[in-house]
């Protein structure tokens, strides 16, 4: 049995314009100890998926579909059960470490908090364990830093503290929503690789959310590409990169500037852009939400929701939800 099974998850949010379907049938499985990446642009529903898994959806949101974690049906969980689950069996690392940490409490206290809450450790034992965790995330001078406040740390150090707090109780699932986007490039790689190393050491499962395609390569086993509240492509990361079977995946890939891109005359090429913009979730077309921006769209794309098309060998479980899947054949040349 998979650790996590999400089946036809639909979330509708209350907005000034009335209810809006922000997640429209998201399904995926995550095995124990496996890593899964969730990629897409602002508003595609990737963070909302994470919040649904943590029971942290905004006020007024309605949830349909099945959300099973281990032996628990998350959809029917009450707030007391959520409180026992969060931080203990499912933990989350947020994007912005300054707002995720409480500015009035020392970092030692914040890392120790889940230990006292969930494992009932004494203040002294929790403090010793917090120190061990801060050393494990390689916070420099961890012993002196136990009494430091978040504002006394740099962005990278704060993110290490958040990771330490998330790992404190040895969760089965770690959800990391853009865990390094607030850091600069060299630190991003270092902190992300630390996170992945700790996840592997502890054998926990990881759901990594990012808008950065380059960051996902080589770092997660499977990848889901999301657009306008749906999964549009899912498969083993290397295969998704190699095939880019959905025109949107292809567009995301081609839009990135890459080092050393030059035309034969030494000029820089224009970057490929995806025409138009992300559709308004309150006024989605009846067919494929990407159709109006897609160069390959047929009339049929605009009338009905595309079914999953299987890509490549069957054992790879690689699919794209597109009638024209694989038609936007990637140009020769790899990443």
């Amino acid at each position: 049995m998979s650790l996590l099974e999400v089946d036809d998850l639909r979330v509708s949010l209350r907005t000034a314009q009335g209810p809006v379907q922000a997640l429209r049938g998201v399904s995926f499985k995550l095995e124990r100890g496996a890593t899964l990446g969730l990629i897409g642009e602002s508003g595609c529903g990737k963070s909302l998926t994470a919040l649904a898994l943590m029971g942290l959806l905004p006020e007024g949101a309605t949830v349909q579909g099945r959300l099973r974690f281990d032996d628990l049906d998350l959809a029917t969980l009450g707030e007391r059960d959520w409180c026992r689950l969060r931080g203990q069996r499912i933990a989350m690392v947020f994007q912005e470490p300054m707002t995720a940490l409480n500015p009035l409490h020392t970092v030692g206290r914040q890392v120790a908090e889940p230990l006292r809450l969930h494992r009932g450790l004494s203040p002294g034992a929790a403090r010793a364990e917090a120190l061990r965790l801060l050393e494990r995330v390689r916070l420099p001078q961890a012993a002196q830093r136990l009494g430091a406040y978040p504002h006394q740390l740099s962005g990278g150090q704060r993110q290490r503290v958040l990771i330490a707090a998330a790992l404190a109780c040895g969760p089965q699932l770690l959800v990391a929503d853009e865990p390094t986007s607030a850091l600069d490039a060299t630190l991003q790689r270092e902190v992300l690789d630390l996170l992945l190393q700790l996840v592997a050491e502890d054998g926990m499962a990881l759901l990594l959310i990012s808008h950065d395609l380059g960051l996902m390569a080589d770092r997660v086993q499977r990848l889901l590409v999301m657009y306008a509240g749906r999964v549009v492509e899912a498969g083993p990361t290397a295969q998704v990169f190699a095939q880019r079977a959905h025109p949107y995946t292809q567009g995301l890939y081609a839009a990135r500037p890459r080092l050393g891109q030059r035309l034969p005359d030494g000029q820089r090429p224009r970057l490929a852009t995806i025409p138009g913009r992300v559709p308004d979730l309150a006024a989605l077309p009846p067919g494929c939400a990407f159709a109006e921006r897609c160069a390959l769209a047929l009339d049929a794309c605009r009338t009905g929701q595309p079914a999953a098309m299987s890509i490549g060998p069957a054992h790879a479980v690689h699919a794209a939800w597109c009638l024209r899947a694989g038609m936007a054949a990637p140009q020769a040349g790899a990443a």
Binding site: E41, A185, T186, G214, A217, G251, L252, A255, P257, R262
Partner: protein, 272 residues
């Protein structure tokens, strides 16, 4: 004879005072920038890369004359920005403008696009030099519409508020505000790092187009080497406030000499 450079930075240093460690000790200094010199010719663009804390943004603030250097000079078309009178500096400001990282934070949510985009005209070209623009709303509107047109937005957008636009459109508005004084130099501090990938491509294409059509010169600060490689004809690598490597991106990014450049390159996803 070679034309005089648009921007000359000569021996620029900046120290910041840290809080006192002990009551009677002198407050320690930290040197954010140490002896940085370079020249930028009109129509070219210089990328500044480096790790966080390397002095990139300090350099941008000194070039924009938002704070004084501890040592050194910034010459804009031969004029020392940190030595001239405040009134002269204000007049000079129309020639260099800045685009910030966060298009959400850089626009006032309560002001219309017209007010936001035309604001530099009122402030910089000043009543004294160009009273017609301030008193003639239709002339002001025409200039603002022209700037919006250059960034691919419509004149009809002038009366809207920032929340009606997407992130990429807001960054276009911020660029239009920088363009409206027809500056020779635009200092852009991480102009695309807050944007989604597909929007980032649109803004980078726009910046390249504006360079061709308007002859704008960029000083581009970015941690993203691919962005710098895409837009810049020259690059300097900053490390602990000093320039440790400089040259054409084709050379610096393919045969990096300094360990700091090599580290930055190793962090580029998909490279190495």
């Amino acid at each position: 004879m070679k034309a005089a450079p648009l921007l000359q930075v000569q021996g620029l240093s900046r120290a910041y005072r840290l809080p006192r460690q002990r009551l009677w000790s002198a407050p320690p200094l930290v040197w954010a920038l140490q002896g940085v010199s370079f020249e930028l010719q009109a129509g070219r663009s210089l990328g500044v890369v480096g790790e966080s804390g390397s002095g990139k943004s300090t350099l941008a603030r000194l070039v924009m004359a938002l704070e004084p250097p501890t040592q050194g000079r910034v010459l804009m078309q031969g004029q020392d920005l940190h030595a001239i009178a405040p009134a002269a500096l204000r007049a000079a400001r129309s020639r260099f403008q800045m685009v910030f990282q966060d298009p959400y934070g850089a626009l006032d949510p309560r002001r219309s696009v017209l007010q936001t985009v035309s604001e530099p005209l009122g402030l910089l070209e000043g009543g004294a030099r160009n009273p017609a623009l301030i008193t003639d709303p239709s002339a002001l509107r025409a200039r603002a519409a022209e700037a919006l047109d250059a960034v691919g937005l419509r004149a009809a957008d002038l009366d809207k508020l920032p929340h009606e636009f997407s992130g990429g459109q807001r960054q276009r508005i911020a660029i239009a505000r920088a363009l409206i004084t027809r500056p020779a130099l635009i200092v852009a501090d991480e102009p695309v790092s807050a944007l989604d990938v597909s929007v980032q491509a649109q803004v980078l294409n726009l910046m390249a187009d504006l360079q061709r059509s308007h002859g704008v010169t960029y000083l581009l600060i970015s941690h993203d080497l691919a962005v710098v490689d895409h837009l810049c004809s020259d690059v300097v690598v900053l490390h602990e406030g000093r320039i440790v490597e400089q040259g054409a991106p084709e050379q610096v990014f393919t045969r990096p000499q300094h360990p700091c450049t090599q580290r930055l390159l190793a962090a580029v996803p998909g490279a190495a």
